[in-house]
Every structure is written in C-alpha cells, then in structure tokens.
C-alpha cells in the first residue's frame, strides 16, 4: 500500500468475510429444508432464510466492492482519500443497515420482492450511505493527480449501480410493472454495471500482478465493458418473456442475452492471456490464481450456464426452477465472490506487510472452495433438470417431484461442506494476517 488512508479498506473486507460466513449458514438451513429437515420452520421459515441468504450475499459483495474502491482509488488517483472519518461512518452505517434488515426479515419485516426485500425506510438509509461513499471516492479521484481508465470505469460502475437502485424503490399496483422495474436493479446490476466494477478490479489486479503495460490492459477493459453493454442492456429482455410484456421481447431478449457470454469470455481471456503475456511471475501467486480463476469461472457460471437457459424455447420450461438456482450460484461465485476474494488476497499482504500468501492454507482455500462450488452447481443442475422434465414437461405435481429430487440436496449439502472447508481456510488465512499497519506503507511502491 502507498497511502495511509487505504487501510480503511480492511474494515470492509473483514465485514465481507463475516457476512459470507453467515450467508453460508443460511444456505445450509435451506439445503436441509429441501431434504425435509425443516425443524427450524417455526423460528426461521424458508422465506426468512432465503431473504437472509441472498441479501447477505449482496451486502458482502457490495462491502467488498467498497473496500476495493477505497484501496484502488487512492492508488490510481495518487493521493490520500479525502476523508477517512467519512469512510468509517459510511462503513458503520452499512453494518447497521444490514444487521437491522437481516433481523427484520426474521420478524416478517420486508418488502417481498426477490433480492429487494430490504424494507423501504432502510432503503433511504442505503441511499444516504451510498451517496457518502460515492462522494468520498469521487472527490478523491477528482482531486487526484491523474485520471486512469481503471479508476474511471470503477467509479462509473459504482455510480451507475447506485443510480439503478432507485427504480427498485418505485411502487406499483400492478405486479407486471413491479417485475419489470425489479429487473432494472437485478439484471442491469449483475449483467451490466457490476461488470464494470468487476472488469476494473481485474484490470487493477492484472496491472499489479503481471507487469503487462497499463495501456494494453486498459484498452481491453474498454472492449470488455463495451461487449457488456452491447449485449446486456437489451439482454434484459430475457426476463420479459413471460411477465405480461409484449411478445417482441422473446426475439430481442433471446438474441442480445445470447451475446452476453461474449463479455464473460472476454473476462476469461483477459485473465489468461495477460498473465501469460506479462512473463513476470508475481510473488503473490495466489492473488493471481483468484484473478484468473474469476475470469474463467465467471465465463462458466454466467456465460455458459446462463446461455444454457436464456433462449425462450428453453426458458419457457426452465423459468423459475432449480435450473435458475444452479446458474445463480456459479455466476455469483465466479464473477463477484471471486473478484472480491481476489482483491482481498492481493490487498492483505500490502495492508499488513506480512507475506502469508505462500503455503498450503491459501492454496487449499482456493481449490477446495472452487471444487465445492462446482459440486454444488452440479447438484443443483441434476435436481433442476430432473424437475424440468418431471414437472414442466411431464406435468407431475410440484411436491411429488420435489420429493423425487430431494436426494440431490444431500449431494448439495455434501458439496457445500467441502465449499465451507475452503472458505474456512480462507478466513483462517485472513485472520492470520492480522490488522493493517502503518509500517506496511511503501510511498514509492510500483504504480
């Protein structure tokens, strides 16, 4: 690290890791419920567990993005953050909002729109929180000594993510409009502006880790995010096939969402080719493994498995089945969880001055969590495809089919255990690093 204020990133990273562990706990609650062990039903009914699982996911990813920005922007702008106290206040309010929301879910306090369950009063707090965050990094960049493409794409991604949260706050009497504008948040986040955040973090990491010329890396960053918007904006149409919207969305959504994998193929090639081309073997090899792994796994989870059910001919049968859960897990993992874990793996030695990236713990954390997540995806896939054939294509009763496929949830739980071991090792490594230290600051560090 080059600037003292970068240390504030640690708070966000630690929060990310903590919320990830909680998210996994609620995943297990749902996994067991699917097998029939719904003993917690009276205390944590399935819908409470689900809202907690997915909202914790979103919050820990956002916290990871924010930590990454607080780390990256000073370095890109070549100056200290304008206000560290503001960043700390912003962190504290993020924690307060998410803890309140999660507790509320257990007492039937929510909005009941998938992924946007946070109750309205808390939405306003989220807005204030995000304004504080954007203001802080925006001003830092503005007053900085240089504007870099990496920094600008990151800020553009974060700012548009904030703006796109707003359509999710409009209320409608009609379920159709509710759904229509819910996708402006959910889809335009993960298949739009979050890809700017992901791409720019990857770009930062590749510049630091591979030694390839910044101009080359940033040029391809533009190409990748260009492909994102080329396909992803009209690709929103793949959610407008069956909700009461006009039939032309089948054509438009099918064609453009069919192109979306190109952006993720770009991310995968980006990581693989840049890391080969650089010829520099970074000391922190595990950070590079997470970086390249992120590109590759995002292509598998989002690109390949997304394409598998995005054409309307397929989607009419798979829509709203466990096939979607299969894709949701590997896509979120490969693209967004892995980019945050890559950034943390890169930043921790820089923040603390301790080089704990060699050895078996971080290595096994990487492989075990990835193999576990691939196993979970496989279990969801087998359950989902069977569900599609029995329920949607043969017309059997929903619950009868669920009983027939519940055995695959035992598989899910076993794979999830492996995944959890991997995450446990990652957390152990994170704890071993300890707290950030001023001695770790290297003012003349590489740009």
């Amino acid at each position: 690290m080059r600037y003292r204020s970068q240390k504030v990133a640690y708070l966000f990273f630690a929060t990310s890791i903590l919320l990830l562990s909680l998210q996994i706990l609620y995943g297990f609650i749902m996994g067991f419920a699917h097998v029939g062990y719904d003993n917690l039903h009276e205390v944590v009914p399935f819908n409470a567990a689900r809202a907690t699982h997915t909202n914790l996911l979103v919050v820990w990813l956002l916290s990871g993005f924010m930590g990454s920005a607080y780390y990256i922007i000073p370095e890109e702008a070549e100056r200290e953050l304008v206000s560290v106290p503001a960043a700390i206040v912003q962190w504290a309010s993020l924690v307060v909002v998410s803890v309140t929301a999660v507790i509320g879910f257990h007492f039937n306090w929510w909005e009941g729109r998938k992924f946007l369950e946070i109750p309205r009063p808390l939405d306003y707090l989220v807005v204030v929180n995000v304004l504080l965050f954007i203001g802080n990094i925006g001003l830092t960049a503005w007053k900085g000594r240089r504007f870099t493409t990496t920094g600008m794409v990151l800020i553009a991604g974060l700012t548009s993510a904030a703006l796109l949260y707003l359509p999710g706050m409009i209320t409608f009497d009609s379920q159709v409009y509710d759904s229509y504008f819910r996708w402006w948040v959910v889809h335009l986040w993960v298949e739009g502006v979050w890809e700017l955040i992901m791409g720019s973090i990857l770009s930062f990491l590749l510049i630091k880790l591979t030694g390839v010329d910044r101009e080359v890396i940033e040029k391809w960053l533009y190409v990748i995010v260009g492909l994102t918007f080329l396909s992803g904006i009209l690709g929103t149409g793949h959610h407008y096939y069956w909700i009461g919207t006009p039939g032309y969305w089948k054509m438009i959504g099918g064609v453009f969402s069919g192109l979306e994998p190109l952006a993720f193929l770009g991310m995968a090639l980006y990581g693989v080719t840049m890391s080969r081309r650089g010829g520099k073997r970074p000391e922190n090899r595990i950070a590079l493994a997470w970086t390249v792994g992120c590109g590759v796994m995002s292509f598998v989870g989002a690109g390949f498995l997304g394409f598998a059910h995005t054409l309307p001919q397929v989607n009419i049968y798979t829509h709203g089945t466990l096939v979607t859960a299969m894709h949701g897990h590997l896509a979120f993992w490969g693209a967004y969880a892995m980019v945050v874990l890559a950034m943390i793996s890169f930043a921790m030695p820089e923040l603390t001055g301790r080089k704990l990236y060699a050895g078996w713990v971080p290595e096994w954390a990487f492989w075990t969590s990835n193999i576990g997540m691939v196993g979970m995806t496989g279990a969801f896939a087998v359950a989902g495809i069977t569900q599609v054939y029995l329920e949607r294509k043969m017309g059997l009763d929903f619950l009868a089919v669920q009983e027939a496929i519940s055995v695959h949830f035992i598989g899910l739980i076993l794979a999830a255990c492996l995944f959890t071991v991997g995450i446990g090792l990652y957390i152990w490594n994170f704890i071993q690093y300890g707290l950030p230290k001023d001695e770790a600051i290297q003012p003349g560090g590489s740009a």
Partner: protein, 147 residues
C-alpha cells in the same frame, strides 16, 4: 490494430445506442401492458391481495410469473388448477390439508384477506404471459407408453 480511443468509442457508442433503444422499448411496453394484463380488472381487492402477497414475502417460497423461490408451487395458474373452493380451505390452515408435507406458514388470515389473496391470484392468472407455463409437452408420450 485497435487503439485505446477506438476501444473507448466502441464502449461509449454502444452504451448510448442501446440505452436509447431500451428506453424506447420500455415506453412501448408500458403502452401495451394495461391491455395485456387487463388493468381494468385490477380492483381494490386485487391490489389489497398484492399487498398481502408482498408484506408476507410469499415470493420467498413460491414463484409467481416464474419469479421467486423454488421451495413451493408455482402460483401463476393456481386458481385455474385448484379452483377457489380448494384455495379457500387451504389458506385457512395450510398444514391441515396434507399434514407431514413441506410446510407453509400459518398466517391466520381473515376470510376477507383470503378473498383478497384469491382475487389477486385470479387476476395474475389472466395476464397474457406469452404461453407460460407451457403445457407439459411430454405428457402425451408418457401416457401412451404406460397404457
């Protein structure tokens, strides 16, 4: 070879072009949805039912129009599938009908609230969904082979 500024123009150009197209299509969709969803039949009772649907996060177990969770039945066509009488009885005490099955929350709805939920689900069932959920296309084959 592609230069950095060409790459930037590629990004900015397509972003502007497709954002504009998307907004135009949104305007057109909003123009067509009222007829496709029979907005004239969206009574106060229907809206009240939607409110119950949302404040209890029914979507955390069920899917509606194919969106939601994969733990409990798809409800877009539930009124057509089960009939109002069944649903009235079921919603009064969801676990009584088939004890020992996967559980739904007991909400202790009043009869008016049950009517509102059913009105909402009835309205949903009439939306023109471009054919979702599809008729099970392999069912005839399966029937033929077991006969």
């Amino acid at each position: 070879m592609l230069s950095k500024s060409q790459a930037r123009n590629f990004f900015l150009g397509f972003t502007v072009l497709f954002s504009g197209t998307f907004l135009a299509l949104t305007v057109d969709s909003i123009r067509q949805v009222p007829a496709r969803s029979h907005e004239d039949q969206m009574t106060a009772q229907v809206v009240a039912g939607k409110e119950i649907w949302e404040t209890n996060n029914c979507m955390g177990c069920h899917t509606l129009l194919g969106e939601g969770a994969y733990y409990a039945p798809e409800l877009t066509k539930v009124v057509e599938r089960r009939g109002e009488g069944y649903l009235k009885m079921f919603l009064r005490d969801p676990q009584a009908m088939y004890p020992g099955r996967r559980k739904m929350v007991q909400y202790n709805f009043t009869p008016e609230q049950i009517d509102e939920v059913i009105a909402f689900l009835t309205w949903i069932g009439k939306i023109d969904t471009n054919g979702f959920p599809a008729a099970p296309d392999l069912a005839p084959l399966a029937g033929a082979s077991t006969k």
